[in-house]
Symmetry: C2
Subunit: 419 residues, 2 copies
């Protein structure tokens, strides 16, 4: 058949032509199609039987260019291969936390999957001030399980190395390398400086060699530390949830990278939401819930990751990553504690990069971009730059997640940055 780009007009015929999808519909007489791809890369169609709303699938198709930029920016459709593989791996590792995959068509660069009708994008929920009581528990589980089980702490070296070689995601990694780790700090033409953001604030991340060298260290880690199969784009727009359930979607950026990158992505977006909250009306108690949630995610991740690790080592007849046990587990435990300290510093550094790039880079977050009052928005933007900057430079100095919460609160009280 070959590849052809679907449209709202042709997607139903496609669905009807695939037995595994057609079987989900009692009839194709009254089908609603909605294109909802608000992302920058792909087309996403929700296909629903109007007369039986449970009969519904999501069809996601990659096009051979960057959607946000248009056909002038070619982008390989191969990204759908990585998304499909990651969805399958995540379904094994965190069942019930990724949409069910109904059908994958590599030739069409297309997948069809469960429509998460009962769940909403977490970013929107946070903007609306709605608590998600299970979010921290679920996300810490997601992080602990996906990162532990795809790493050398669990896998045989041969299986790990084969997984690394199978996950070389050149094009989407390049997007991150450029738009998270390079362009925001080098005054690239691709940047989008918000109106009202003072040059003095921009200069704090573009004219400071200490900051730029520290960001380059994070970029080096991103490009070289093949520790675990990452989601690769784990912001609050890649998570759907309700009060009971949490789903992680859109893993097209998946590749083998540093564990701290996924952890930092979630934390950064919660801290951005926290800062943005200062410019929003409503429930005052919601704001601390955001830093508390970041704390709970880190602490939950840390505890669950360590539990998985200890449990896994216990099943290895005394032999762990450090080797045979000769001291009642003291060496293995000493390594675990050092490992988590280093991972914490990595996560904080990556979080800092992700916060800064959301202010001056091409891709914004609605939490901040949607603040109506220009002066209030600029203030939050400067706070985000101030906090992100310190996270990257001082990433080794934080001994506990509560210290980062304190920094978030201190940053939220800044009127201008630099003062």
């Amino acid at each position: 058949m070959g590849y052809r780009q679907l449209t709202e007009a042709t997607v139903v015929d496609y669905v009807a032509s695939v037995p595994a999808l057609a079987a989900r519909f009692s009839s194709f007489g009254a089908i609603d199609v909605r294109e909802v791809g608000d992302g920058n890369l792909n087309y996403v169609y929700i296909v629903t039987n109007r007369t039986a709303p449970d009969e519904t699938v999501v069809v996601k198709q990659a096009v051979p260019f960057l959607r946000i930029a248009g056909e002038s920016w070619p982008l390989g459709r191969q990204r759908m291969v990585f998304e499909t593989a990651a969805l399958r791996r995540h379904a094994e590792l965190v069942p019930g936390m990724v949409p069910e995959l109904f059908h994958a068509d590599p030739e069409m660069s297309l997948i069809a999957m469960q429509n998460l009708r009962a769940h909403r994008i977490v970013r929107g929920e946070l903007i609306a001030g709605r608590r998600l009581p299970r979010l921290a528990d679920h996300l810490s589980t997601f992080l602990a399980r996906t990162l532990f089980f795809t790493s050398d702490l669990h896998l045989d070296p041969a299986a790990k190395k084969a997984a690394v070689a199978a996950s070389v995601n050149v094009e989407l990694c390049r997007i991150t390398e450029d738009f998270v780790f390079t362009h925001p700090y080098d005054d690239s033409a691709s940047n989008a400086y918000p109106a009202g953001l003072r040059q003095a604030a921009i200069d704090t991340i573009q004219r400071d060699s200490e900051l730029r060298a520290a960001v380059a260290e994070m970029k080096w880690l991103f490009m070289n530390a093949a520790e675990a199969l990452l989601h690769g784009d784990l912001h609050t727009g890649s998570i759907m949830a309700n009060e009971r359930e949490t789903y992680v979607i859109d893993p097209e950026f998946a590749f083998y990278g540093p564990m701290g990158f996924d952890v930092g992505a979630i934390l950064a977006n919660l801290w951005l939401a926290f800062l943005a909250r200062g410019a929003r009306e409503g429930d005052a108690a919601f704001r601390p819930w955001l830093t508390e949630t970041a704390e709970a995610i880190w602490k939950g991740f840390r505890a669950k990751f360590l539990d998985l690790w200890r449990e896994s080592d216990a099943g290895r007849d005394g032999a762990s990553f450090v080797g045979r046990d000769l001291d009642a587990g003291a060496s293995a435990e000493a390594f675990r504690q050092r490992f988590l300290r280093r991972l914490f510093a990595d996560a904080i550094g990556f979080a800092g990069c992700k916060m800064m790039r959301r202010i001056v880079g091409i891709a914004k977050v609605a939490d901040i971009a949607g603040i109506a009052d220009p002066a209030a928005r600029s203030r939050v933007e400067e706070q985000a730059l101030a906090m992100g900057r310190r996270l990257v430079i001082e990433r080794h100095r934080f001994a506990a997640i509560e210290e980062v919460s304190a920094l978030a609160r201190a940053s939220a009280s800044l009127e201008r940055f630099p003062a």
Copy 2:
């Protein structure tokens, strides 16, 4: 044809049957064959025309098992693929520092190459107390060029990632993971404790959780930091030299790993030679030449690596790994300095692991194993454990290579370790 294992009796027929090799011989009437594979893995034949000694080739063939252990230890012949690829890459990057490749036969897991008749294995030269005046200059060039040009500092990300995926050397990496980073510290049955080495000394590396956790951190880096195409086994037995030239041979362990691993391998073997010297007669001035050579290799490597980096960045129209230049190069230079500090700590940590494993692990170094007086040998062994241990644990504390030379001298004065 398929694979068949050559012997001294059949290697000449093979050479005569390959036009590219046969053409190097004026006749096959008086051929000498010598099997000289003193390594642990392969068979190496020197094939020479007795009547015209310039007509000579080295034939190296991998067998499907670990030679040192016998057919009961299977080892894929694929390692010759990695050796061939690395020899070719090194020939491009450091011409004149690797043997010329005459012929590669992947089906036979065999290569034929230049016979380095005018050069000797460096380990033997150091044991004999012979200075190699160009060694530091050559090796620092080898390290700087092979590590820089295969990294993200030089390559386009797509080319780098493709090179990583093409260099997944599972089996030989596993040998290093096991025999350098695990077994020496976990009292493995594969260890070979030298007669006379006190249990108290062995305990300093097997019953110390701080040391074992630090070694595990180095193992993690080895397995996860895909920074550059490494030689992978760069000890003084993998280097042949004379007063004018230096050749690096046997890159079958080549893979994408942390730059500090190759740097640390050379340094470790010079420091082992330095300690061994205390138990040998002869030229007293030769001993400081060994630490001076280690200093010159690190300093030369550092300077040459930085020169390549600055030169490369200068050709990129102001854009480097850190991004576009906005501050007359200050950010790029700050990153370079931090990068080299981190690389120095990595190299020292890897050197420490390599020193310790040569004492208690299966593979010894002749510098020490060949010391005739048992008490003197044990003293040197304990000194090597003491120094290696401190290098790994304190790798971040060394600000300059001279401090490591001072530690080597201090270690050389230890009568017993622990005291």
